[in-house]
Subunit: 685 residues, 2 copies
Amino acid sequence: MRIRYTSLLFVFVCAVVVNAQEVPTPKLNLMPMPASVKFHRERLAVDSNFRVATRGHSDVRLQAGIFRFLKRLEGRTVLTMPPGLAADDQTTPLVVNCQGPGKNIPGVGEDESYHIDITNRQAILNAPTVVGALRGLETVLQLVDADRNGYFLPGVQIDDQPRFPWRGLMIDVSRHFQTIEVLKRNLDAMAAVKMNVLHWHLSEDQGFRVESKKFPKLHQLGSDGNYYTQDQIKDIIAYARDRGIRVVPEFDIPGHSTSWLVGYPELGSAPGPYTIERRPGIFEPALDPTREEVYKFLETFLGEMAALFPDDYLHIGGDENEGKQWDRNPAIQAYMKQKGIKDNHALQAYFNTRLLKILQKHGKKMIGWDEILQPGLPKDIVIHSWRGTAALAEAARQGYDGILSNGYYIDLIQPASQHYVADPLPADSKLTPEEAKHVLGGEATMWAEWVTPETIDSRIWPRTAAIAERLWSPRTVSDVPDMYRRLAVISLQLEELGLTHKKNQEMMLRRLVRNDDIGPLRTLVAVIEPVKEYRRYQMRPQTMLSPLTGVIDAATPDSEAGRKFSWMVSEFLNDGPRYQLYRPELSAMLSEWQTSGASLEPLIDRSPALKEIKPLAQNLSVLGETGLEAITYLKLGMPPPRDWRETSLAKVNEAAKPYGALEFAVIAGVKQLVNSAGDMGSGRR
Amino acid sequence: MRIRYTSLLFVFVCAVVVNAQEVPTPKLNLMPMPASVKFHRERLAVDSNFRVATRGHSDVRLQAGIFRFLKRLEGRTVLTMPPGLAADDQTTPLVVNCQGPGKNIPGVGEDESYHIDITNRQAILNAPTVVGALRGLETVLQLVDADRNGYFLPGVQIDDQPRFPWRGLMIDVSRHFQTIEVLKRNLDAMAAVKMNVLHWHLSEDQGFRVESKKFPKLHQLGSDGNYYTQDQIKDIIAYARDRGIRVVPEFDIPGHSTSWLVGYPELGSAPGPYTIERRPGIFEPALDPTREEVYKFLETFLGEMAALFPDDYLHIGGDENEGKQWDRNPAIQAYMKQKGIKDNHALQAYFNTRLLKILQKHGKKMIGWDEILQPGLPKDIVIHSWRGTAALAEAARQGYDGILSNGYYIDLIQPASQHYVADPLPADSKLTPEEAKHVLGGEATMWAEWVTPETIDSRIWPRTAAIAERLWSPRTVSDVPDMYRRLAVISLQLEELGLTHKKNQEMMLRRLVRNDDIGPLRTLVAVIEPVKEYRRYQMRPQTMLSPLTGVIDAATPDSEAGRKFSWMVSEFLNDGPRYQLYRPELSAMLSEWQTSGASLEPLIDRSPALKEIKPLAQNLSVLGETGLEAITYLKLGMPPPRDWRETSLAKVNEAAKPYGALEFAVIAGVKQLVNSAGDMGSGRR
């Protein structure tokens, strides 16, 4: 059956018809999709008598999870349910049957599986561990549906467990500091899509973010006052544990360490003094791997951190050290000669070997970026691959555990569809089943050069939910349109956890326009995207101290309006020579572009911060006008004038140029319209 | 000159034309309006060279204030300005010239005055204290304007100081707990409108919110785990002090004390046991004023709190104790007989006298609600009047300081215009100047039965800014339309501080509708308001544990669309018999009501939480249709059929009935239209 785009985009919560005879596989709004879902013809009412009882194991963490579940259910349904847990597990609507507590500290081997069975009478959630039960409760919340008769849970039987044990989100809190509230709401969002690792990127050239009682100048001089106290860190770890999420800290060394050296220049490979870095990029400062004092410092510091962070792993970064300070330091050069260390790679391998011993002494396993993989390291380190699945597979063949981040760089403004196809263990993988076990999963990476607490949610969500699905669900769950359909539903549900990815956009537009009349700017922003990869800084340089409140910051990746437009264009063109399908919707959209472009001019004149998008406003009108012309020719079956295609394509190509580091997400669709209209004239149809 | 409503509502940031010859008094968007503003013909550019220098006194608090100022200025203009303070005070665009630090702990006698002089060359802000400088910086931020040439500060000379020294916002954190983030962003908002007292209502029947190290069962058993640690309290006090805001804690006794008695039933006037109250209302539990143990407890507890809260004042509540437990307790009755205490009022006076001694011993002045004013109390207590200006004046005549809250009960869903006219010292006050000095100011009161962190901002703001103006600006600043014009601008600026009063509404509508298609619901919600005063609970009873996520919670007081509609109706009718003015706008608005009402039906069918507003949706259509009919008759100059007026008014009256504790804010306007059309038939025109 052909899926209409309207139903994909607009009917988010499709009524789940539970009559199995009529609809064999109703569209559930689950994300990540469970390993197995079967449907009954039944449904369980969710009304003001809804309660939860536990059976088997129960503890504070499970109960807190159930109370959070009930609060969200009440919030969504506006029903006041009886407070507390029910005692009777025979008739209570939802019974959580947990077999045991699971690991005390969340860890890689945690059993996160669960089983849900919903009938007319009761919903039973079975899980071997509390974490499994928490994962199942999120699924139950995603199952809640409604119709004229009220809220209900559809009759289903779900068997579910993750494909990979390591499903992480890395948050860089160093380039821009992120508050405790940002972390907590993102932990809630991670739990909602069953992610289980917060990789906390805590130090960088641009900031050192942890209170160290042993070396207080680290946070005092390296953070501008923006750091987490140890109490706050414990609070975050507890908050994550409550949600079955591990917290893996990263202290990136020997490079990326300018902020360490502000307070402790004696650790550096050049004399200093050092100041906190304000630019983005790769910088020279690096710890001096030839000095015993550096290892003594690390021994004490990492000992302090090892005690603070209970996770088995500690991430030591290790990336992007170009060794320029090492090259220029005669003492380091002499040391290398003396020890027979032939190059900087070997020197960093030497550093890592020493580091590994320190971590082992403190009971931690080492994880680091690709660069740490060097001959001679033992097999219990984990390789974090920014290079790709080939590097990951090679590490696995050598017996190293690894996780993938290549493909999951959410700071690069790629669409969810692109992240969705990145698979840590692709279908064509040549690894043996035994080797494949070394591929533990992956992590989305939120590098924070261009995000603040105001905008970070919109860079992480909803796209990261697609990555969460890739890491949890079977490889065969890969239908991109259906992913987008479910992503829109999940995106809305994340708002109930306090996520600001949707609501901050209009606020930012109001601030830019300086009043409530944001209609035309909203129309423009809906169809533009920040430029991808690392082009933003090249086109619109800023520092870490610059305001991130421009149109580029309000614009989001993966334009939904852009996808809708492309879809409608292709349906419309496929409907030729009738050209009826979606014509009214397309015409309305193009007309709106045309008029909004013009309406933007006076707004821009009153708001100098909008000046940089003036060419975009003009081009929005041009794109609208050109698209409308093409539709008119197609509709009338009338070939356009001879030069029309060429002139129009020139205009569209002109409009494809980015301004303010923003570009249109609708260029291809308009070109398709122009070319189709042009083809009529050239007899190519 | 007649002010057009469009310009009031839509052109929020009017370009300040600084040519004094052309426009003698440009419309500035200042709130509260300064005591004196004069205009020059000059302007100072705000560009990426904008910096601040200090002259005279400087300290950490001033510098932090300047950095916050710069961050907001950068955020609003999307300009990266040079970091840090400038050294040169001769050419730097803004110079802050502060004469001294002011009080170490913010207090009632603080000098908050400031003087601003802006020329082409420089802006100079003079202030005797740091707090005065902070107030002035807020004015500078409100002065920032823009046109095609960029951002700028208009040439002005401002002399400003507050009319009243006590300008407070009371936040009840007991009925519903409010997080630290809620308090911080509201402190920021208070500072933006120059308020200077956070009255923190910390204990109630429904919750005890402070960690007590002396009596830990207070917070452990009385708060459901929702309390502030002493560290958090110190953090809030420091945050407030940084902004020149006092923090006055309230511990409401002897009534309103159920939550104290959960952990310490022995303090009560009945044996207990007690549980945390979940309902709204006035309850019986009260401390036993006849037992020495109670005073010993209070001596220790208030000593702990007196050390924690540095403000000179401590609020002891004292309201709404009906004494029912006292009446029924034979020991209390015997004690009263023995001591010659003739009634419960006298008993509470006895209690307050004892309490006063305890507070005095700990160096605190007592403040309490009207009820505490009883013969024999010394003159250094402060009366907090919920009764009104007459009670306040009477207290002042007796020599008692007082503050007003009657008229400022923002939980009662009244329009800002109503709060705006409430004056602690009305024009017709009979107090002598000496007596009038006892009237210290007032406080907006955010009672929290029906607000959560998600909705509280929308109940406080923007209306509280009108109260802030009443308490700061000269009495003569009283133009309601101009207040609303400026309120809309300030409301938007508050968003840059993280306030959620605007952005959470659409999020809540998305959650209710369960998708992004909220247009019709938004149209309805824009013209309805929650029922006023205490009718919400009567019409739609809930408990403190109920979800506050319904349409009533998304709807806001003081409907802006309702005001706009009324204005347009009156302009339209005044334009008879031509009936041209605002006819297109009115017709468009009424048509939108008509169609939205119909579009809401399927949304309601899919979202049972919307069921309660089904009659409102139908009535929205009816109001739209009726209004359109009236406009058609008026436009055509055609008298309607004989029964039309009666039938139509009956429909409108039917539509005036509240549903879901929500009512239309446009009834009067539609009736005016109907009556005007009807008058044509009856020959009354």
